[in-house]
Each structure stands twice: as structure tokens, then as C-alpha cells.
């Protein structure tokens, strides 16, 4: 309907951003635009508005109750384009009549860039060491910067040093406890065939996703060891009083264990020379190398470090 030529009052409306909008957002991100409408005090509830991106209408809605101290701010939800690129956005309130007044068309232009969602990975619960000839399991989780729901079902791949795919699994649809949207999978793998450290990588096959996602990978090591042949009992005692030290971290070759309340750690290891180290906060223990040819017991003396008064560190 044309309003030209009538005797109605004409009202100019000006639109401005009440809060800044990021120049770059995740593709498909949900934004809340805060638009200040001048003059304040206009009753525009229910008025049609449009948002165009590169002249294509992306959102069509009706203005909500205005907020703010002067009741002049409209909060409008807007979904950014899912395509990656730079867009000229335009918010338009078309000319309309309201309560005997013609409100002239008002518009606001802004630019917006969209970026791929950032995905990132975590790898955990990888046993150390893994035993040659056996299989083991680890967990891989993937997170999207927009917490978008497209990750469940995506493939996780495990690559070895030569980029060969060793295994793959699909992300589940239940986030890992303590996280909002870390979707994860448990993957079974065969242990490497030779002893030592192996540099592997977990990768998310992001190409499967609808919205563009960045590539994500996480490098981790797999420590492979020969099957155990002997049981070594390590007793950790305080050097002066010969009292047992519990919860000391003992490493013998590739194997680790913590001491119990009697100061004992039991480690099943292959035969051969192994480095023996002990860690307990507040103590110092020497590192040594022992040759294991049968089941054996070893004692390690840890020296209690002087308790420093934190109120007077390092005097002298």
C-alpha cells in the first residue's frame, strides 16, 4: 500500500549499534544484535524488520519490546551465514504506518566476516607402556568452538609416524563429563612392533562436516615395551630414619608404579638394564641403572629435603 500523498505525520527513524558486533564470527554463529532506535519512546513492538546479507534476505521478524533505560534498544537474534566469507549486512525497518504516523524506512549497514569453526582435540587414557604384541585402547575427544552439534558421528583417525592410518572411530554423541561439548570415542589399537617411543597423531576428519571446520590434530607418544619377564619390588625409605615413603612415583625402565603405605612398589619388567628413578615431593633420590635378570628387590634411599619456611625463602 502506498502511503504517499496522505496527510499523515512522517517520522524519521535512525538505527545505530548499541553494542559492538565482532568483525569476525564463526560461520553459522548465533548473534544477538543490540540496535538503538532513535528517537526513543517510539512504540515499534511488532514492527517488521529484515536483515539482508549481500542483498539476500536472511532474517525476517518483528521487533520485540524495546529494552534499556530509555526503552530504545531492540535485541534481535541473527544467525551468521554458514558460508565462509565477508558479508555486507543490512538491517531494514521498511516504511510503515503506525497509529497515524508514517515511519520512514530506516536501515543500518555493517560488515561481518565468517570463519571456519575451530576444532581441537584431546587424547587421553593411553596406557604407558603398551606391550608389544598386545592391543590397547585410548580415548580421543573433539571440541568445536561453536559447540555445534555436527561433531557426533565424525571420524577420528590415528596416524603413525609415516602418516599411515592405524585405526579410526566415530565420535559418540554424549559429551565427556565435565565438558559442554567434547564428543569422544574410544579406539582400540595394536601396540607398535618395536620398543621405544612412537610419535602418533590423532586427526579429526573435518571434511565431512556441513559448516567449514578447521583441521584439528593432536600429537601423542606411544611407549612400547617388551612383555614383562620379572617382578621387581622397589622399597623406598627415608635415608636417615629408614621409614617407608608412601605414594612415591617409581619408574623402572618404561614401567611406573606408586609405592604403597609400606613404601613398596612392584613393577613387572622385561629382563635387561633399566633406569630406576623415584620422585616424591620434598625428597631427593638418586637415579640408578639396574640389570634385571630375575625377580628381585631393590631399596632406594630418599633424602628428606629441609622444610623451608615460605615466609623467608632463600635467605643466604
Amino acid at each position: 500500500m502506498s502511503l504517499e500523498g496522505t496527510a499523515l505525520h512522517r517520522q524519521e527513524i535512525e538505527l545505530a549499534l548499541a553494542e559492538p558486533v565482532p568483525e569476525e564470527v564463526d560461520a553459522g554463529a548465533q548473534l544477538m544484535l543490540a540496535i538503538r532506535i532513535a528517537p526513543s519512546g517510539l512504540n515499534l513492538v511488532g514492527t517488521l524488520f529484515l536483515i539482508t546479507a549481500d542483498d539476500e534476505v536472511r532474517t525476517r521478524g518483528h521487533l520485540p519490546d524495546l529494552a534499556g533505560e530509555d526503552r530504545d534498544i531492540a535485541r534481535i537474534a541473527f544467525t551468521a551465514p554458514e558460508r565462509i566469507g565477508e558479508f555486507a549486512l543490512r538491517l531494514i525497518i521498511p516504511e510503515h504506518e503506525r497509529e497515524g504516523t508514517i515511519c520512514r524506512e530506516a536501515s543500518l549497514s555493517l560488515r561481518l566476516r565468517t570463519r571456519p569453526h575451530v576444532t581441537s582435540l584431546a587424547v587421553w587414557d593411553c596406557p604407558a607402556p603398551v606391550v608389544i604384541g598386545e592391543t590397547f585402547r585410548l580415548k580421543v575427544g573433539a571440541q568445536c568452538s561453536s559447540s555445534c552439534a555436527s561433531l557426533p558421528g565424525c571420524a577420528i583417525e590415528i596416524h603413525d609416524e609415516s602418516a599411515a592410518v592405524l585405526a579410526h572411530a566415530a565420535l559418540g554423541d554424549t559429551p565427556w563429563p565435565g565438558t559442554q561439548a567434547l564428543y569422544w570415542a574410544e579406539i582400540e589399537l595394536a601396540a607398535p612392533g618395536r620398543e621405544g617411543l612412537h610419535a602418533w597423531t590423532a586427526k579429526l576428519a573435518a571434511r565431512e562436516l556441513g559448516i567449514a571446520h578447521s583441521q584439528a590434530s593432536f600429537a601423542f607418544t606411544v611407549l612400547a615395551d617388551a612383555p614383562a619377564a620379572h617382578l621387581v619390588t622397589v622399597a623406598v625409605v627415608e635415608a636417615e630414619k629408614r621409614t617407608p615413603i608412601d605414594n612415591a612415583q617409581v619408574r623402572l625402565g618404561a614401567r611406573r608404579a606408586a609405592t604403597d603405605e609400606r613404601g613398596l612398589a612392584r613393577l613387572a619388567v622385561p629382563g635387561g638394564n633399566h633406569e630406576l628413578s623415584v620422585w616424591k615431593a620434598g625428597y631427593e633420590a638418586p637415579t640408578s641403572t639396574i640389570e634385571v635378570i630375575q625377580d628381585a628387590s631393590v631399596a632406594v634411599e630418599a633424602v628428606l629435603l629441609p622444610v623451608e619456611d615460605p615466609d623467608s625463602y632463600w635467605q643466604g
Binding site: 604407558a128 575427544g141 565435565g178 565438558t179 606411544v222 619408574r251 620422585w279 615431593a281 615466609d311 643466604g316
Partner: protein
């Protein structure tokens, strides 16, 4: 810092003034700067312009370990005394100290334990060239200190302090001479709990005694300038002061107090003043917090007011010779993170502290990274080499001084092993000092919410750091920093980042004084009527309460005896 004002304001809660705002309003603008409150420029303060609201014999500024004894000693000497304190309670940082007083010389407790000591031995210990905490001390000051040890011990006894154990020897002392006060028994009058904060057992008895003897204590009053007769000349006449609110912000109710005999500055040192502390160590940019500064802002206002009328600094090597307790590794997840400065919700200071922080029992449970996401040292160590690495350049060409925030990075398993709680009131998430995320890259992206993380931490860098560290766990050796056989990977989500930036501790230098604690100017002349004591006094590097109490008492006695 390379950070814009808008971001800084955004990071501060509405109720909480930023350090920047505080410095602006307090006029603490650095050496030679003037207290500019209420339009008055202290450097040009003209005594003729001052309308004195009150007149007493002695004005003491600061009700801590040196101000309280100064006030009592002046009152004992027959002077009328006014004690101004900017906090809403007395005690300064001493009330959250361990309550250990390093005085010996053959006191009763030493006798009971069979320890032989003498003033001569105290002097010899604390001036010996073979010990870095003694080497740079002013021997005249140490001599006076040594000679006043026994009298100070008697003074504390007479004013109600009760003693527990004798310990040591520590630092430059060669015999046990550290005596620890018994904690004040009234729990509602404590400030910090459950950390052997026996300093209450020193300052509360002194407060009671001071009040009983007639010292007038004005709380929430901040000294803004010291008034001297002429420009760098004449005697000191008094102080200008202003009432402050509980955030130490001025209310613009001013108070000018004439001091017939003297003004004693007992303001606690300069650690909380970024510009002044950088006079001694340019590395100490704004990200470093000073122990207790939220409780008792020892921001150099005594030093600045004194220098504005001509006073000089003294024995500044003590601040940086890496012998004293000048810096501390601290607790996790709270801004003001001194290891023993823990405030729990029942503390009257908790509204400023906002969290109590978490103590690390085993540093093998975390890695420490700089603002750039990179490790920098063996995390299990704490010494000046560690701190030098923490304060070293982190690679931003726009910020060359200071090392930037240090973050402890750890995983869900570490939380389990340490039995940490990762929510209020243990860590300060709302303030931007503790973060949690599903992945390391997401974690890094959050850190700019912290007011001192001036640029984003590259997530890929943090992930690469952890990937490499985890390979050291499998390999059994830390190839970068030789941390002893790291036993635990950082692997299981969620991941956490907790503020672990070193916390500054003692001020080990300050104003030049003679052995009566009278301030000395740059020409070696006494500034009549001005005294400096405690951590605002230079010349003697000794950690803790002893030099504060000994010299506070000396200043009070001397001021009261002035004509």
C-alpha cells in the same frame, strides 16, 4: 602494560577499582611525584596555606608492625599521639604474618633453651661479608638494632605479647633467635585462619595497649602529604590526610594534623607501587601482585611523600641482591597469591581477595607456562633462578619488561591427585584467574579475560607445549628443563589454567634514616621531625617483624623526646 584502558576497565568488577584508578586517585605517580589529593601538591605544600584541623605531638602513619610500637613508645614518652591507618582495622600485613620476631641478643627465651647470644653476636651476624643478607646492610643501623634487641623484647612483653616457640638459626643469624608469638585468641579479631598466621599475637596486644594508653587511632584515614616548613627546608609540621572507603578510595573528607614533635612514616614499603618498585627492578611490571596489598596497600606513599620534601633512599642493593624474601611462587587461581596469604570467606578481607586459592602439594601435577603458552623452567624448583626465568622476556616486542602472567596448566587427573576444588570460593573464575575448557586450544582462547593477559595465548603453542611435555613423561626425561622424571601427563579433559604469577613479598629497601630513624635528605642532613620505620626504611635487610618493631619503638621514643 600494552593494554588499552577499555579492556582494563572491563576486567575490573564494577565495585572494585583497578590498580590504575587507585594510583591515579592516590597521586602515587612515582619517584618525585606528589600526593595530589584535594588539589594539594605535596612537593609545593606551603605551610602557610594549611588550615590545621587537629594538633598532637606525634602523628604515626600506618598501624602495622612498626606503627603500633612507634605510637606506644611515643605515648610512653609522654607525647600525645594520633595513629592514622587507611584500612578499617589495624595490623597492616603484620596481622597475616607468621608472628615470628627475629630478636635475640640473649633474651629470656634463648636462656631457657640454653642458647648463648649477645648484641655483639647479632651485630656480627647481620653485618658479615660472607652472607648476602648481611653484606649490604648499614652497620650503624644494625648496631642500633642489636643494642635494642633486649629492650624491644621487654617492650613487647610489657605490652602483652605472649611467646611460643624459639626457632632458627635462619638467614644471617648463627644461633636460634626467632621467637614466635602466640596467636591472638579472639577468632573474630583474626584476618587469616589456619595457616599459622600468628602475627595477630603481636599486633592485637599492641593495639589493646595503645588504646589503653591513650593513642588515638583513626581508621580509614590515608596520609596524602607530609607538610614541611619550606621547600626542601625547615622542619616537618604535620600531614594532610583524607578519609577513604573500604577500597581505599578517597571520600574527600580531609583532615590536616599538625605534629608538634614529629611524623613517623610506618607505611609498609613500596611493593604495591609498580612505578616505585621498578626503580629497583625494572622487570616488576604490573602483572606482579604484592603480598597483602589488597589488605594493606603498601604502595610507597610514605616514601613518595618523604621524597617530595627532600628525603633520600638508602641501601637499595638489598632489594635486588637475591638474598631476601622478595618474591614467591605462590598459590594457584587467585590474584593475590602469596603462599601463606590465604583468605577464606570468614575473613573480613575476603570481599577483596575473592578466593582463597589452591596450594600445590606436588609441582609434578602441573606445567607452568608464560603468557605465550611456553614452559620456561623446571616447575619443581623455586629459587631466584626460577623467578629470573619467570620474569624474563616472553617474546612480545611491545612488552619487553616483565615476564607476563604465568599460568599453571593441568588436567582432570591432577585435580583428582591434588584433591583441588575448582570452584568458588577456592578459585577466582569470575575475576579471570582460573579457567576450564575441554581442550587446550579452547583453554588458551579464554585467557584474555584476565586483566593482565594483554594478548591472546596461541592455542597451537599451548597444545604443542603439552604434546612435547607429555612425550617427556613417556620418555622419562624432560629434555627442555631437566625436571626430574615427570610422572604425569596432562591429558584428561577438562583442562584448567590457574594464575600462578609470582607474588612479591618483602620491601627490602626504603628511606634513608639515621639510627634514631630520622629521615635524611640527599645532602646527608636530617629532615627535622620526619621519621621512617619498618619496610619503608632502608638500610637493613632482615625479613619480617623484628626490624619493624625495633625501629618503630626507637622512632617513637625519639620523637616524644624532641623539644
Amino acid at each position: 602494560m600494552a593494554k588499552d584502558d577499555a579492556r582494563s576497565r572491563q576486567a575490573d568488577t564494577a565495585a572494585r577499582p583497578s590498580r590504575r584508578d587507585f594510583l591515579r586517585s592516590s597521586g602515587a605517580v612515582g619517584v618525585g611525584g606528589a600526593a595530589a589529593l584535594a588539589g594539594r601538591d605535596a612537593a609545593a605544600a606551603d605551610a602557610a596555606d594549611i588550615k590545621w584541623d587537629r594538633e598532637v605531638d606525634v602523628v604515626v602513619i600506618g598501624a602495622g608492625a612498626s606503627g603500633l610500637p612507634a605510637a606506644i613508645a611515643a605515648r610512653d614518652g609522654g607525647a600525645s599521639v594520633m595513629l592514622l591507618e587507611q584500612h578499617f582495622d589495624i595490623g597492616g600485613c603484620a596481622i597475616i604474618s607468621g608472628g615470628t620476631v627475629h630478636i635475640g641478643a640473649g633474651n629470656r627465651i634463648q636462656h631457657e633453651k640454653g642458647v648463648k647470644d649477645s648484641p655483639d653476636l647479632v651485630f656480627a651476624d647481620w653485618t658479615r661479608p660472607g652472607h648476602k643478607a648481611a653484606r649490604y646492610n648499614d652497620r650503624d643501623l644494625v648496631r642500633r638494632f642489636a643494642d635494642e634487641n633486649l629492650a624491644t623484647f621487654d617492650f613487647l612483653n610489657e605490652n602483652g605479647v605472649q611467646w611460643g616457640q624459639l626457632s632458627g638459626p635462619q638467614s644471617a643469624s648463627t644461633v636460634p633467635r626467632q621467637i614466635t608469638a602466640v596467636e591472638w585468641p579472639v577468632r573474630s579479631q583474626l584476618v587469616a585462619f589456619d595457616q599459622q598466621r600468628n602475627g595477630s599475637g603481636v599486633v592485637r596486644p599492641l593495639e589493646m595497649s595503645a588504646r589503653r594508653k591513650g593513642v588515638e587511632i583513626l581508621l580509614q584515614h590515608k596520609m596524602t602529604s607530609v607538610v614541611r616548613e619550606g621547600h626542601f627546608a625547615g622542619r616537618v609540621l604535620g600531614v594532610t590526610a583524607v578519609q577513604v572507603d573500604r577500597w581505599f578510595q578517597p571520600t574527600y573528607q580531609t583532615l590536616n594534623v599538625r605534629a608538634r614533635k614529629g611524623v613517623i612514616l610506618a607505611t609498609g614499603g613500596h611493593g604495591g607501587n609498580v612505578e616505585l618498585r621498578r626503580v629497583f627492578d625494572p622487570r616488576l611490571t604490573a602483572e606482579y601482585q604484592a603480598h597483602g596489598e589488597d589488605l594493606a596497600p603498601h604502595n610507597g606513599d610514605g616514601e613518595i611523600a618523604a621524597m617530595a620534601i627532600g628525603a633520600s633512599l638508602w641501601a637499595t642493593a638489598n632489594q635486588t641482591n637475591e638474598a631476601g624474601a622478595a618474591i614467591n611462587k605462590g598459590r594457584l587461581g587467585v590474584k593475590n597469591n602469596y603462599i601463606r596469604g590465604r583468605f577464606t570467606p570468614e575473613s573480613p578481607n575476603f570481599f577483596r581477595a575473592r578466593a582463597s586459592g589452591q596450594v600445590v602439594h606436588d609441582w609434578q601435577n602441573v606445567i607452568l607456562v608464560k603468557e605465550n603458552g611456553k614452559r620456561f623452567w623446571d616447575e619443581t624448583k623455586e629459587n631466584y633462578d626460577y623467578h629470573a626465568a619467570a620474569l624474563a622476556w616472553s617474546g612480545d616486542p611491545k612488552k619487553l619488561n616483565g615476564g607476563g602472567p604465568i599460568w599453571a596448566i593441568f588436567d582432570a587427573d591432577a585435580v583428582e591427585r591434588e584433591k583441588w576444588k575448582t570452584d568458588y570460593p577456592y578459585v577466582d573464575r569470575a575475576g579471570g584467574y582460573f579457567f576450564t575448557a575441554a581442550t587446550l586450544i579452547e583453554l588458551a582462547s579464554q585467557l584474555t579475560r584476565n586483566e593482565y593477559q594483554w594478548r591472546p595465548m596461541p592455542g597451537a603453542e599451548l597444545q604443542a607445549t603439552v604434546e612435547r611435555f607429555n612425550s617427556f613423561v613417556d620418555g622419562g626425561k624432560d629434555l627442555d628443563f631437566n625436571r626430574p622424571s615427570p610422572p604425569h601427563k596432562i591429558a584428561k579433559p577438562p583442562f584448567h589454567a590457574a594464575w600462578a604469577t609470582p607474588c612479591l613479598h618483602d620491601a627490602l629497601t626504603g628511606l634513608r634514616t639515621n639510627t634514631d630513624c630520622e629521615a635524611i635528605d640527599l645532602y646527608g642532613k636530617v629532615i627535622p621531625g620526619l621519621y621512617a620505620v619498618g619496610e619503608s626504611q632502608g638500610g637493613f635487610q632482615m625479613h619480617g617483624l623484628a626490624r619493624c618493631i625495633v625501629f618503630g619503638r626507637i622512632a617513637g621514643m625519639h620523637a616524644a623526646a624532641r623539644a
